[in-house]
Protein backbone atom coordinates (compact mmCIF):
# COMPACT_ATOMS: atom_id res chain seq x y z
CA UNK A 1 0.00 0.00 0.00
CA UNK A 2 1.18 3.45 -0.90
CA UNK A 3 2.09 5.45 2.14
CA UNK A 4 0.30 8.78 2.14
CA UNK A 5 2.55 10.61 4.45
CA UNK A 6 2.92 14.33 4.38
CA UNK A 7 5.73 15.82 6.40
CA UNK A 8 3.22 16.41 9.11
CA UNK A 9 0.40 13.89 9.43
CA UNK A 10 0.14 10.21 8.61
CA UNK A 11 -3.04 10.32 6.58
CA UNK A 12 -3.15 6.52 6.12
CA UNK A 13 -3.26 6.02 9.88
CA UNK A 14 -5.73 8.84 10.46
CA UNK A 15 -8.17 7.49 7.86
CA UNK A 16 -8.42 4.21 9.77
CA UNK A 17 -9.95 6.17 12.64
CA UNK A 18 -12.86 7.43 10.50
CA UNK A 19 -15.31 4.60 9.73
CA UNK A 20 -17.26 6.63 7.14
CA UNK A 21 -14.18 6.97 4.93
CA UNK A 22 -14.45 3.26 4.18
CA UNK A 23 -17.74 3.66 2.37
CA UNK A 24 -18.08 3.96 -1.36
CA UNK A 25 -20.15 6.52 -3.22
CA UNK A 26 -21.48 5.63 -6.68
CA UNK A 27 -18.99 2.76 -6.64
CA UNK A 28 -16.04 5.07 -5.99
CA UNK A 29 -13.88 5.74 -2.95
CA UNK A 30 -15.41 8.58 -0.94
CA UNK A 31 -13.28 11.71 -1.40
CA UNK A 32 -14.72 14.00 1.23
CA UNK A 33 -13.82 17.62 0.50
CA UNK A 34 -16.73 19.40 2.17
CA UNK A 35 -15.08 19.90 5.54
CA UNK A 36 -15.86 23.59 5.81
CA UNK A 37 -19.53 22.54 5.90
CA UNK A 38 -19.04 19.72 8.39
CA UNK A 39 -16.26 17.31 9.32
CA UNK A 40 -16.44 13.53 9.61
CA UNK A 41 -16.17 11.89 13.04
CA UNK A 42 -13.45 9.60 14.34
CA UNK A 43 -14.40 6.35 16.04
CA UNK A 44 -13.33 7.80 19.42
CA UNK A 45 -15.99 10.52 19.18
CA UNK A 46 -18.72 8.11 18.13
CA UNK A 47 -17.68 5.75 20.92
CA UNK A 48 -17.60 8.49 23.55
CA UNK A 49 -21.21 9.41 22.75
CA UNK A 50 -22.33 5.77 22.83
CA UNK A 51 -20.40 5.21 26.09
CA UNK A 52 -22.14 8.15 27.70
CA UNK A 53 -25.55 6.69 26.94
CA UNK A 54 -24.49 3.10 27.69
CA UNK A 55 -22.90 3.86 31.04
CA UNK A 56 -23.38 7.35 32.46
CA UNK A 57 -26.55 9.01 31.19
CA UNK A 58 -28.38 11.24 33.67
CA UNK A 59 -29.36 14.89 33.99
CA UNK A 60 -26.30 16.80 35.19
CA UNK A 61 -26.33 19.41 37.98
CA UNK A 62 -29.56 18.26 39.51
CA UNK A 63 -29.16 14.92 41.19
CA UNK A 64 -27.02 13.55 43.97
CA UNK A 65 -27.27 10.03 42.64
CA UNK A 66 -24.23 8.33 41.14
CA UNK A 67 -25.19 8.65 37.46
CA UNK A 68 -25.98 12.34 37.83
CA UNK A 69 -22.60 12.88 39.44
CA UNK A 70 -20.96 11.09 36.50
CA UNK A 71 -22.94 13.09 33.93
CA UNK A 72 -21.99 16.33 35.68
CA UNK A 73 -18.36 15.24 35.73
CA UNK A 74 -18.46 14.36 32.01
CA UNK A 75 -20.05 17.71 31.17
CA UNK A 76 -17.66 19.83 33.24
CA UNK A 77 -14.52 17.92 32.29
CA UNK A 78 -15.50 18.50 28.66
CA UNK A 79 -15.69 22.21 29.40
CA UNK A 80 -12.20 22.14 30.92
CA UNK A 81 -10.90 20.66 27.67
CA UNK A 82 -12.40 23.55 25.71
CA UNK A 83 -10.85 26.00 28.20
CA UNK A 84 -7.37 24.68 27.54
CA UNK A 85 -7.91 24.06 23.81
CA UNK A 86 -8.45 27.76 23.12
CA UNK A 87 -6.50 28.91 26.19
CA UNK A 88 -9.36 30.72 27.93
CA UNK A 89 -8.33 32.10 31.32
CA UNK A 90 -11.17 30.51 33.30
CA UNK A 91 -13.78 27.75 33.36
CA UNK A 92 -16.46 30.45 33.64
CA UNK A 93 -15.60 31.82 30.22
CA UNK A 94 -16.82 28.80 28.25
CA UNK A 95 -20.55 28.67 27.54
CA UNK A 96 -22.05 25.71 25.70
CA UNK A 97 -24.50 26.52 22.93
CA UNK A 98 -26.15 24.63 20.10
CA UNK A 99 -23.86 26.02 17.41
CA UNK A 100 -21.58 28.90 16.46
CA UNK A 101 -24.74 30.56 15.13
CA UNK A 102 -26.39 30.34 18.53
CA UNK A 103 -23.22 31.64 20.17
CA UNK A 104 -23.36 34.76 17.99
CA UNK A 105 -27.07 35.18 18.66
CA UNK A 106 -26.39 34.88 22.38
CA UNK A 107 -24.03 37.85 22.09
CA UNK A 108 -26.66 39.76 20.16
CA UNK A 109 -29.49 39.18 22.64
CA UNK A 110 -27.64 39.10 25.94
CA UNK A 111 -24.98 41.75 25.32
CA UNK A 112 -25.46 43.84 22.17
CA UNK A 113 -29.17 44.56 22.48
CA UNK A 114 -28.44 46.10 25.94
CA UNK A 115 -25.34 48.04 24.93
CA UNK A 116 -25.53 49.08 21.28
CA UNK A 117 -27.67 52.20 20.96
CA UNK A 118 -29.23 54.42 18.37
CA UNK A 119 -26.63 56.02 16.14
CA UNK A 120 -23.84 53.67 17.31
CA UNK A 121 -21.54 52.15 14.72
CA UNK A 122 -21.24 48.39 14.16
CA UNK A 123 -18.28 47.34 11.99
CA UNK A 124 -18.44 44.06 10.05
CA UNK A 125 -16.54 42.73 7.05
CA UNK A 126 -17.90 41.84 3.64
CA UNK A 127 -16.50 38.31 4.01
CA UNK A 128 -18.81 37.29 6.86
CA UNK A 129 -20.86 34.12 6.84
CA UNK A 130 -24.56 35.00 7.11
CA UNK A 131 -24.51 33.88 10.76
CA UNK A 132 -22.11 36.70 11.63
CA UNK A 133 -23.94 39.25 9.50
CA UNK A 134 -27.71 38.80 9.80
CA UNK A 135 -27.85 39.05 13.65
CA UNK A 136 -26.07 42.42 13.45
CA UNK A 137 -28.28 43.63 10.61
CA UNK A 138 -31.29 42.79 12.77
CA UNK A 139 -29.75 44.50 15.77
CA UNK A 140 -28.94 47.63 13.75
CA UNK A 141 -32.55 47.77 12.57
CA UNK A 142 -33.93 47.21 16.08
CA UNK A 143 -31.88 49.86 17.86
CA UNK A 144 -31.18 52.24 14.97
CA UNK A 145 -27.43 51.58 14.82
CA UNK A 146 -25.26 52.10 11.73
CA UNK A 147 -23.50 49.26 9.89
CA UNK A 148 -20.24 49.55 7.99
CA UNK A 149 -18.60 46.71 6.07
CA UNK A 150 -14.85 46.50 5.61
CA UNK A 151 -14.03 45.48 2.03
CA UNK A 152 -11.42 43.18 0.52
CA UNK A 153 -8.62 43.57 -2.01
CA UNK A 154 -8.84 41.71 -5.36
CA UNK A 155 -6.94 38.75 -3.89
CA UNK A 156 -9.40 38.45 -1.00
CA UNK A 157 -7.35 40.10 1.74
CA UNK A 158 -9.18 42.29 4.23
CA UNK A 159 -8.56 46.01 3.73
CA UNK A 160 -6.86 46.75 7.04
CA UNK A 161 -6.54 50.46 6.23
CA UNK A 162 -10.32 50.64 5.78
CA UNK A 163 -10.77 48.85 9.08
CA UNK A 164 -8.40 51.20 10.88
CA UNK A 165 -10.14 54.24 9.39
CA UNK A 166 -13.48 53.01 10.73
CA UNK A 167 -11.93 52.62 14.19
CA UNK A 168 -11.48 56.42 14.22
CA UNK A 169 -15.28 56.66 14.36
CA UNK A 170 -15.33 54.85 17.75
CA UNK A 171 -17.59 51.89 16.91
CA UNK A 172 -19.56 50.20 19.68
CA UNK A 173 -18.72 46.76 18.38
CA UNK A 174 -16.76 44.95 15.71
CA UNK A 175 -17.61 41.46 14.41
CA UNK A 176 -15.40 39.57 11.97
CA UNK A 177 -14.49 36.09 10.87
CA UNK A 178 -11.09 34.65 11.77
CA UNK A 179 -11.07 32.60 8.57
CA UNK A 180 -13.38 33.10 5.58
CA UNK A 181 -15.47 30.03 4.75
CA UNK A 182 -15.43 31.03 1.07
CA UNK A 183 -12.07 32.67 0.34
CA UNK A 184 -10.10 30.84 3.00
CA UNK A 185 -8.51 34.17 3.96
CA UNK A 186 -7.07 34.11 7.46
CA UNK A 187 -7.58 37.49 9.09
CA UNK A 188 -5.06 38.86 11.55
CA UNK A 189 -7.46 38.60 14.45
CA UNK A 190 -4.98 39.84 17.08
CA UNK A 191 -4.30 42.98 15.08
CA UNK A 192 -8.01 43.64 14.47
CA UNK A 193 -8.88 43.05 18.14
CA UNK A 194 -6.12 45.32 19.37
CA UNK A 195 -7.13 48.09 17.00
CA UNK A 196 -10.81 47.69 17.98
CA UNK A 197 -10.00 47.63 21.67
CA UNK A 198 -8.03 50.89 21.41
CA UNK A 199 -11.12 52.39 19.76
CA UNK A 200 -13.25 51.20 22.68
CA UNK A 201 -15.18 48.62 20.67
CA UNK A 202 -16.24 45.18 21.86
CA UNK A 203 -14.94 42.42 19.55
CA UNK A 204 -16.85 39.37 18.35
CA UNK A 205 -14.87 36.74 16.43
CA UNK A 206 -16.43 33.99 14.32
CA UNK A 207 -13.89 31.20 14.71
CA UNK A 208 -15.99 28.39 13.21
CA UNK A 209 -13.45 27.95 10.39
CA UNK A 210 -10.27 28.56 12.38
CA UNK A 211 -10.49 26.67 15.70
CA UNK A 212 -10.82 23.27 13.92
CA UNK A 213 -7.74 23.93 11.79
CA UNK A 214 -5.15 25.91 13.73
CA UNK A 215 -3.97 26.81 17.19
CA UNK A 216 -6.26 29.55 18.51
CA UNK A 217 -5.38 31.33 21.74
CA UNK A 218 -8.14 33.71 22.84
CA UNK A 219 -5.86 35.50 25.30
CA UNK A 220 -3.23 36.21 22.67
CA UNK A 221 -5.97 37.19 20.23
CA UNK A 222 -7.47 39.55 22.76
CA UNK A 223 -11.10 39.15 21.69
CA UNK A 224 -14.12 39.77 23.91
CA UNK A 225 -16.27 37.04 22.37
CA UNK A 226 -15.44 34.07 20.15
CA UNK A 227 -17.86 31.58 18.61
CA UNK A 228 -17.03 28.06 17.54
CA UNK A 229 -18.83 25.02 16.24
CA UNK A 230 -18.36 21.41 17.41
CA UNK A 231 -19.33 19.58 14.23
CA UNK A 232 -16.71 21.33 12.11
CA UNK A 233 -13.94 20.04 14.41
CA UNK A 234 -14.68 16.30 14.43
CA UNK A 235 -17.37 16.65 17.10
CA UNK A 236 -21.10 16.02 16.85
CA UNK A 237 -23.72 18.45 15.56
CA UNK A 238 -25.81 20.38 18.07
CA UNK A 239 -22.92 21.59 20.21
CA UNK A 240 -21.17 24.93 19.94
CA UNK A 241 -19.23 27.16 22.27
CA UNK A 242 -19.24 30.82 23.12
CA UNK A 243 -16.09 32.11 24.71
CA UNK A 244 -16.60 35.40 26.53
CA UNK A 245 -14.23 37.41 28.70
CA UNK A 246 -15.26 36.78 32.29
CA UNK A 247 -15.74 40.43 33.16
CA UNK A 248 -18.08 41.06 30.27
CA UNK A 249 -20.03 37.82 30.84
CA UNK A 250 -20.50 38.77 34.50
CA UNK A 251 -22.08 42.07 33.56
CA UNK A 252 -24.46 40.51 31.05
CA UNK A 253 -28.11 39.63 31.39
CA UNK A 254 -29.11 36.01 30.71
CA UNK A 255 -29.94 34.70 27.23
CA UNK A 256 -32.68 32.09 27.56
CA UNK A 257 -34.36 31.67 30.91
CA UNK A 258 -35.67 28.63 32.73
CA UNK A 259 -34.15 25.75 34.62
CA UNK A 260 -30.47 25.51 35.59
CA UNK A 261 -29.66 29.16 34.79
CA UNK A 262 -31.05 30.39 38.11
CA UNK A 263 -29.69 30.33 41.62
CA UNK A 264 -33.03 30.89 43.31
CA UNK A 265 -36.55 31.62 42.15
CA UNK A 266 -39.24 33.38 44.16
CA UNK A 267 -42.69 34.47 43.15
CA UNK A 268 -41.32 38.00 43.02
CA UNK A 269 -38.39 37.15 40.75
CA UNK A 270 -35.20 35.18 40.37
CA UNK A 271 -31.47 35.39 40.96
CA UNK A 272 -29.17 34.24 38.17
CA UNK A 273 -26.82 31.30 38.50
CA UNK A 274 -23.02 31.68 38.44
CA UNK A 275 -21.05 31.69 35.22
CA UNK A 276 -21.17 29.92 32.88
CA UNK A 277 -24.48 28.30 33.91
CA UNK A 278 -26.27 31.65 33.77
CA UNK A 279 -26.29 31.25 29.98
CA UNK A 280 -27.21 27.57 29.88
CA UNK A 281 -30.94 27.29 30.44
CA UNK A 282 -32.61 23.89 30.33
CA UNK A 283 -31.13 20.42 30.27
CA UNK A 284 -27.93 20.66 28.27
CA UNK A 285 -26.58 18.66 25.36
CA UNK A 286 -24.34 16.43 27.47
CA UNK A 287 -23.66 13.91 24.69
CA UNK A 288 -22.59 16.88 22.54
CA UNK A 289 -20.18 18.13 25.19
CA UNK A 290 -18.81 14.59 25.65
CA UNK A 291 -18.41 14.17 21.89
CA UNK A 292 -16.70 17.56 21.58
CA UNK A 293 -14.30 16.65 24.40
CA UNK A 294 -13.37 13.43 22.57
CA UNK A 295 -12.85 15.46 19.38
CA UNK A 296 -10.53 17.83 21.24
CA UNK A 297 -8.59 14.85 22.61
CA UNK A 298 -8.22 13.54 19.07
CA UNK A 299 -7.03 16.89 17.70
CA UNK A 300 -4.66 17.32 20.66
CA UNK A 301 -3.17 13.91 19.92
CA UNK A 302 -2.36 15.13 16.39
CA UNK A 303 -1.23 18.56 17.56
CA UNK A 304 -2.87 21.68 16.13
CA UNK A 305 0.39 23.02 14.74
CA UNK A 306 0.81 19.83 12.73
CA UNK A 307 -2.83 19.98 11.61
CA UNK A 308 -2.26 23.51 10.33
CA UNK A 309 1.01 22.59 8.58
CA UNK A 310 -0.64 19.56 6.97
CA UNK A 311 -3.54 21.60 5.60
CA UNK A 312 -1.26 24.37 4.42
CA UNK A 313 0.89 21.84 2.57
CA UNK A 314 -2.16 20.22 1.00
CA UNK A 315 -3.63 23.60 0.04
CA UNK A 316 -0.35 24.63 -1.58
CA UNK A 317 -0.35 21.36 -3.55
CA UNK A 318 -3.97 21.87 -4.67
CA UNK A 319 -3.36 25.50 -5.65
CA UNK A 320 -0.33 24.46 -7.67
CA UNK A 321 -2.24 21.72 -9.48
CA UNK A 322 -5.17 24.03 -10.16
CA UNK A 323 -2.89 26.59 -11.77
CA UNK A 324 -2.43 24.10 -14.61
CA UNK A 325 -6.15 23.72 -15.35
CA UNK A 326 -7.30 25.75 -18.39
CA UNK A 327 -10.34 27.91 -17.68
CA UNK A 328 -10.19 27.68 -13.89
CA UNK A 329 -10.53 30.76 -11.68
CA UNK A 330 -9.44 30.36 -8.06
CA UNK A 331 -10.58 32.95 -5.52
CA UNK A 332 -8.79 34.15 -2.42
CA UNK A 333 -5.14 34.70 -1.47
CA UNK A 334 -2.56 33.11 -3.79
CA UNK A 335 -0.31 31.90 -0.97
CA UNK A 336 -1.30 28.91 1.14
CA UNK A 337 0.28 30.54 4.19
CA UNK A 338 -2.38 33.26 4.12
CA UNK A 339 -5.35 30.94 3.86
CA UNK A 340 -7.04 28.02 5.53
CA UNK A 341 -7.68 24.73 3.73
CA UNK A 342 -10.58 26.17 1.74
CA UNK A 343 -10.43 26.69 -2.04
CA UNK A 344 -13.34 28.23 -3.94
CA UNK A 345 -13.19 28.26 -7.71
CA UNK A 346 -15.10 28.27 -10.98
CA UNK A 347 -14.36 26.21 -14.07
CA UNK A 348 -15.15 27.83 -17.43
CA UNK A 349 -18.87 28.36 -17.88
CA UNK A 350 -19.78 25.24 -15.90
CA UNK A 351 -22.24 26.22 -13.20
CA UNK A 352 -21.08 25.04 -9.73
CA UNK A 353 -24.19 22.87 -9.31
CA UNK A 354 -23.49 21.06 -12.56
CA UNK A 355 -19.87 20.68 -11.53
CA UNK A 356 -20.90 19.32 -8.11
CA UNK A 357 -23.12 16.71 -9.79
CA UNK A 358 -20.32 15.55 -12.08
CA UNK A 359 -17.84 15.41 -9.18
CA UNK A 360 -20.36 13.53 -7.03
CA UNK A 361 -20.54 10.82 -9.64
CA UNK A 362 -16.80 10.36 -9.12
CA UNK A 363 -17.23 10.06 -5.34
CA UNK A 364 -15.87 13.58 -4.78
CA UNK A 365 -17.99 15.54 -2.27
CA UNK A 366 -17.61 19.31 -2.59
CA UNK A 367 -19.95 22.23 -1.93
CA UNK A 368 -21.49 24.44 -4.59
CA UNK A 369 -23.45 27.65 -4.22
CA UNK A 370 -23.02 30.78 -2.17
CA UNK A 371 -21.75 29.11 1.00
CA UNK A 372 -23.96 31.28 3.23
CA UNK A 373 -21.95 34.29 2.07
CA UNK A 374 -24.18 35.89 -0.54
CA UNK A 375 -22.88 39.46 -0.14
CA UNK A 376 -19.30 38.24 -0.60
CA UNK A 377 -20.24 36.08 -3.61
CA UNK A 378 -22.00 39.03 -5.22
CA UNK A 379 -19.13 41.40 -4.44
CA UNK A 380 -16.91 39.05 -6.46
CA UNK A 381 -19.38 39.49 -9.31
CA UNK A 382 -20.49 35.87 -9.05
CA UNK A 383 -23.72 34.00 -8.48
CA UNK A 384 -22.04 30.86 -7.09
CA UNK A 385 -18.72 29.08 -6.61
CA UNK A 386 -17.50 25.53 -6.12
CA UNK A 387 -15.61 24.92 -2.88
CA UNK A 388 -13.20 22.18 -1.85
CA UNK A 389 -12.14 22.18 1.80
CA UNK A 390 -9.63 19.93 3.54
CA UNK A 391 -9.12 18.30 6.90
CA UNK A 392 -6.79 15.92 8.69
CA UNK A 393 -7.85 12.81 6.75
CA UNK A 394 -7.35 14.36 3.31
CA UNK A 395 -4.20 13.59 1.39
CA UNK A 396 -2.68 14.35 -1.98
CA UNK A 397 -4.63 11.42 -3.45
CA UNK A 398 -7.84 13.34 -2.64
CA UNK A 399 -6.56 16.40 -4.48
CA UNK A 400 -5.59 14.13 -7.39
CA UNK A 401 -9.10 12.62 -7.41
CA UNK A 402 -10.56 16.13 -7.48
CA UNK A 403 -8.30 17.07 -10.38
CA UNK A 404 -9.26 13.95 -12.34
CA UNK A 405 -12.94 14.69 -11.77
CA UNK A 406 -12.40 18.27 -12.96
CA UNK A 407 -10.81 16.90 -16.13
CA UNK A 408 -13.88 14.74 -16.67
CA UNK A 409 -16.12 17.79 -16.21
CA UNK A 410 -14.07 19.69 -18.78
CA UNK A 411 -14.49 16.83 -21.24
CA UNK A 412 -18.25 16.62 -20.68
CA UNK A 413 -18.64 20.37 -21.12
CA UNK A 414 -16.26 20.34 -24.10
CA UNK A 415 -13.97 22.95 -22.49
Amino acid sequence: MRVLKTQTLEVDQIRKDFPILRRRVHGKRLVYLDNAATSQKPRSVIRAIADFYNKHNANPHRGVHQLSIEATEAFDSGRKKVVSFINASAFEEIVYTRSATESLNLVKYAWASHHVRKGDLIVLTIMEHHSNMVPWQLLAKEVGARLEYVGITPDGTLKYDEFDALMDQSPAMVAFTHCSNLLGTINDAARLCSSARRAGAVTVVDAAQSVPHMQVDVQKMGCDFLALSGHKMLGPTGIGVLYGRKKILQEMEPFESGGDMIKSVHLSGAEWNDLPYKFEAGTQNVEGAVGLAAAIDYLDSLGMDRVRRHEQELTAYALERMRGVPGITVYGPKEASKRGGVISFNLGDIHPHDLASILDEEGVAIRSGQHCAQPLTESLGLSATTRASFYVYNGRDDVDALMNALSKARRIFCL
Binding site: I350, H351, H353, D354
Partner: protein, 135 residues
Amino acid sequence: MSSDIYRELILDYYRNPRNFGKLDPHDIDFKDSNPLCGDEIEMQVKVSPDGKMEDVKFIGKGCAISQASASMLTELAKGRPLEWVKELSRADILKMLGTSDLGPARIKCALLSMKVLKSGVYAYLGAALDESADH
Protein backbone atom coordinates in the same frame (compact mmCIF):
# COMPACT_ATOMS: atom_id res chain seq x y z
CA MET B 1 -28.00 11.51 -10.85
CA SER B 2 -25.79 10.46 -13.72
CA SER B 3 -23.76 12.99 -15.66
CA ASP B 4 -25.30 11.46 -18.81
CA ILE B 5 -27.80 14.33 -18.60
CA TYR B 6 -25.10 16.68 -19.89
CA ARG B 7 -25.51 15.62 -23.48
CA GLU B 8 -24.71 17.82 -26.40
CA LEU B 9 -28.33 18.94 -26.67
CA ILE B 10 -28.56 20.21 -23.08
CA LEU B 11 -25.21 21.97 -23.35
CA ASP B 12 -26.30 23.56 -26.62
CA TYR B 13 -29.47 24.95 -25.00
CA TYR B 14 -27.40 26.12 -22.02
CA ARG B 15 -24.87 27.96 -24.18
CA ASN B 16 -27.21 29.10 -26.95
CA PRO B 17 -30.59 29.41 -25.27
CA ARG B 18 -33.53 29.73 -27.67
CA ASN B 19 -36.14 32.37 -26.89
CA PHE B 20 -33.84 34.13 -24.44
CA GLY B 21 -34.79 37.74 -23.80
CA LYS B 22 -37.65 40.01 -22.92
CA LEU B 23 -41.00 40.11 -24.69
CA ASP B 24 -42.62 43.49 -25.18
CA PRO B 25 -45.55 43.77 -25.10
CA HIS B 26 -46.50 40.73 -23.05
CA ASP B 27 -49.58 39.53 -21.17
CA ILE B 28 -47.90 37.26 -18.66
CA ASP B 29 -44.73 37.95 -16.67
CA PHE B 30 -43.65 35.69 -13.83
CA LYS B 31 -40.36 35.23 -12.00
CA ASP B 32 -39.21 32.71 -9.43
CA SER B 33 -35.97 31.39 -7.99
CA ASN B 34 -34.68 28.30 -6.30
CA PRO B 35 -33.16 29.68 -3.09
CA LEU B 36 -31.04 26.61 -2.47
CA CYS B 37 -29.23 26.84 -5.81
CA GLY B 38 -29.73 30.46 -6.74
CA ASP B 39 -31.28 29.49 -10.09
CA GLU B 40 -33.53 32.26 -11.44
CA ILE B 41 -36.09 32.15 -14.25
CA GLU B 42 -38.38 34.87 -15.54
CA MET B 43 -40.87 34.02 -18.30
CA GLN B 44 -42.97 36.31 -20.43
CA VAL B 45 -45.87 35.21 -22.62
CA LYS B 46 -47.84 37.00 -25.30
CA VAL B 47 -51.39 35.60 -25.41
CA SER B 48 -53.36 35.58 -28.68
CA PRO B 49 -57.06 36.54 -28.75
CA ASP B 50 -58.02 32.85 -28.96
CA GLY B 51 -56.11 32.01 -25.79
CA LYS B 52 -52.90 30.60 -27.26
CA MET B 53 -49.33 31.31 -26.18
CA GLU B 54 -48.37 33.26 -29.26
CA ASP B 55 -44.84 33.95 -28.08
CA VAL B 56 -42.83 32.84 -25.03
CA LYS B 57 -39.49 34.18 -23.89
CA PHE B 58 -37.36 33.78 -20.78
CA ILE B 59 -34.40 35.28 -19.03
CA GLY B 60 -32.53 33.68 -16.17
CA LYS B 61 -29.32 32.49 -14.66
CA GLY B 62 -28.24 29.26 -13.08
CA CYS B 63 -27.11 25.76 -13.88
CA ALA B 64 -27.26 24.07 -17.28
CA ILE B 65 -30.26 21.97 -16.27
CA SER B 66 -32.40 24.92 -15.14
CA GLN B 67 -31.51 27.12 -18.10
CA ALA B 68 -31.81 24.41 -20.78
CA SER B 69 -35.10 23.31 -19.26
CA ALA B 70 -36.47 26.87 -19.45
CA SER B 71 -35.35 27.36 -23.02
CA MET B 72 -36.76 24.01 -24.17
CA LEU B 73 -40.02 24.72 -22.39
CA THR B 74 -40.49 28.02 -24.23
CA GLU B 75 -40.21 26.12 -27.51
CA LEU B 76 -42.57 23.43 -26.33
CA ALA B 77 -45.17 25.93 -25.11
CA LYS B 78 -45.13 28.27 -28.06
CA GLY B 79 -48.37 28.07 -30.08
CA ARG B 80 -50.17 25.92 -27.52
CA PRO B 81 -53.36 26.95 -25.68
CA LEU B 82 -53.00 28.27 -22.11
CA GLU B 83 -54.98 25.25 -20.89
CA TRP B 84 -52.13 22.98 -22.01
CA VAL B 85 -50.02 24.31 -19.15
CA LYS B 86 -52.44 22.77 -16.64
CA GLU B 87 -51.66 19.29 -17.96
CA LEU B 88 -47.90 19.84 -17.93
CA SER B 89 -46.22 17.41 -15.50
CA ARG B 90 -42.86 16.50 -14.04
CA ALA B 91 -42.75 13.53 -16.39
CA ASP B 92 -43.16 15.84 -19.42
CA ILE B 93 -40.19 17.94 -18.29
CA LEU B 94 -37.98 14.90 -17.71
CA LYS B 95 -38.97 13.56 -21.15
CA MET B 96 -38.22 16.96 -22.69
CA LEU B 97 -34.74 16.86 -21.10
CA GLY B 98 -34.27 13.29 -22.29
CA THR B 99 -33.79 11.74 -18.88
CA SER B 100 -35.80 9.46 -16.63
CA ASP B 101 -34.51 10.63 -13.27
CA LEU B 102 -32.45 13.51 -11.94
CA GLY B 103 -32.36 12.62 -8.25
CA PRO B 104 -33.65 14.74 -5.37
CA ALA B 105 -30.82 17.28 -5.41
CA ARG B 106 -31.27 18.42 -9.01
CA ILE B 107 -34.92 17.80 -9.89
CA LYS B 108 -35.83 21.28 -8.58
CA CYS B 109 -33.45 22.83 -11.13
CA ALA B 110 -35.29 21.04 -13.93
CA LEU B 111 -38.77 21.90 -12.66
CA LEU B 112 -38.25 25.61 -11.91
CA SER B 113 -39.25 26.69 -15.44
CA MET B 114 -42.47 24.65 -15.28
CA LYS B 115 -43.28 26.21 -11.92
CA VAL B 116 -42.73 29.69 -13.35
CA LEU B 117 -44.84 29.06 -16.47
CA LYS B 118 -47.66 27.48 -14.47
CA SER B 119 -47.65 30.28 -11.90
CA GLY B 120 -47.74 32.91 -14.63
CA VAL B 121 -50.52 31.27 -16.61
CA TYR B 122 -52.60 30.45 -13.51
CA ALA B 123 -52.30 34.03 -12.30
CA TYR B 124 -53.37 35.19 -15.76
CA LEU B 125 -56.33 32.83 -15.77
CA GLY B 126 -57.17 33.93 -12.25
CA ALA B 127 -56.95 30.41 -10.96
CA ALA B 128 -54.99 29.27 -7.96
CA LEU B 129 -51.83 27.35 -8.60
CA ASP B 130 -52.60 23.69 -8.27
CA GLU B 131 -49.65 22.57 -6.15
CA SER B 132 -50.44 18.91 -6.74
CA ALA B 133 -49.62 19.22 -10.42
CA ASP B 134 -46.05 20.01 -9.46
CA HIS B 135 -45.45 16.53 -8.18
